[in-house]
């Protein structure tokens, strides 16, 4: 079975542009979470979606938004990109939005802002 897939794998943008990152969860998983990981640090939680509804939001500005589609795939959108948005963006899926569910991570999208 395919794991969590993210696209694109790498992306280069300039300041002020916007970006859309995509994530396909493991088949059967209904919950998707997004994380931002700066080099050398642990992932920081951005959003969680379950059954197309936002279930959790981290401490990120309104420039960051996301949505989940009926097939449980998800998009993360970032507007007005800043240099500090350069990071690895990870998507993780789990069976449900309930507790003690292990999250399976994709390999991430490496976003570089010039």
């Amino acid at each position: 079975d395919a794991g969590v897939t993210q696209s694109p794998t790498h992306l280069i943008k300039t300041r002020g542009q916007h970006v859309t990152l995509r994530c396909s969860p493991i088949s059967g998983h209904k919950s998707v979470s997004w994380y931002q990981q700066v080099l050398g640090q642990g992932p920081q939680f951005i959003f969680q979606y379950y059954e197309k509804e936002e279930r959790g939001r981290g401490n990120f500005p309104d420039r960051f938004s996301a949505r989940q589609f009926p097939n449980y795939s998800s998009e993360l959108n970032v507007n007005a990109l800043l240099l500090g948005d350069s990071a690895l963006y990870l998507c993780a899926s789990s069976l449900a939005g309930t507790r003690n569910q292990p999250q399976h991570f994709g390999d991430g999208t490496r976003l570089s802002i010039l």
Binding site: V4, S33, Y35, G40, Q41, G42, P43, Q44, F45, Q48, R55, G56, G58, L90, A92, G97, T98, R99, N100, Q101, P102, Q103, H104, F105, G106, D107, G108, R110
Partner: protein, 113 residues
């Protein structure tokens, strides 16, 4: 704000040595997960501990959840170069309806042959 502190932040050891990585918090978690991440890849789940005092073993790796469910440790016996990577712990929030994992910053382990 819940925080998970991992220590040490960096660790460089020789092959065959033993090591312990710690994950501490002042908050209680319903469960705690350990991940290993290699450069350019997403974190891979190693184990989830749920019960206070629980000990789980995964080959040469031993994971322990503190009795109060506020801390955890990862012990590696006879480390090998293949153990090199970033080890992350993540605690799950006990209260509230929104499930969220609180992440540590990670321990970067280098095992030298």
């Amino acid at each position: 704000t819940q925080l998970l502190e991992q220590s040490p932040q960096f660790l460089s050891i020789q092959e065959g040595e033993n090591l312990t990585v710690y994950c501490n918090s002042s908050s209680v978690f319903s469960s705690l997960q350990w991940y290993r991440q290699e450069p350019g890849e997403g974190p891979v789940l190693l184990v989830t501990v749920v019960t206070g005092g629980e000990v789980k073993k995964l080959k040469r790796l031993t994971f322990q959840f503190g009795d109060a469910r506020k801390d955890s440790s990862l012990h590696i016996t006879a480390a090998q170069p293949g153990d090199t990577g970033l080890y992350l712990c993540a605690g799950e929030n006990l209260a509230g309806n929104n499930r969220k994992l609180i992440w540590g910053l990670g321990t970067s382990l280098a095992v030298n042959p």
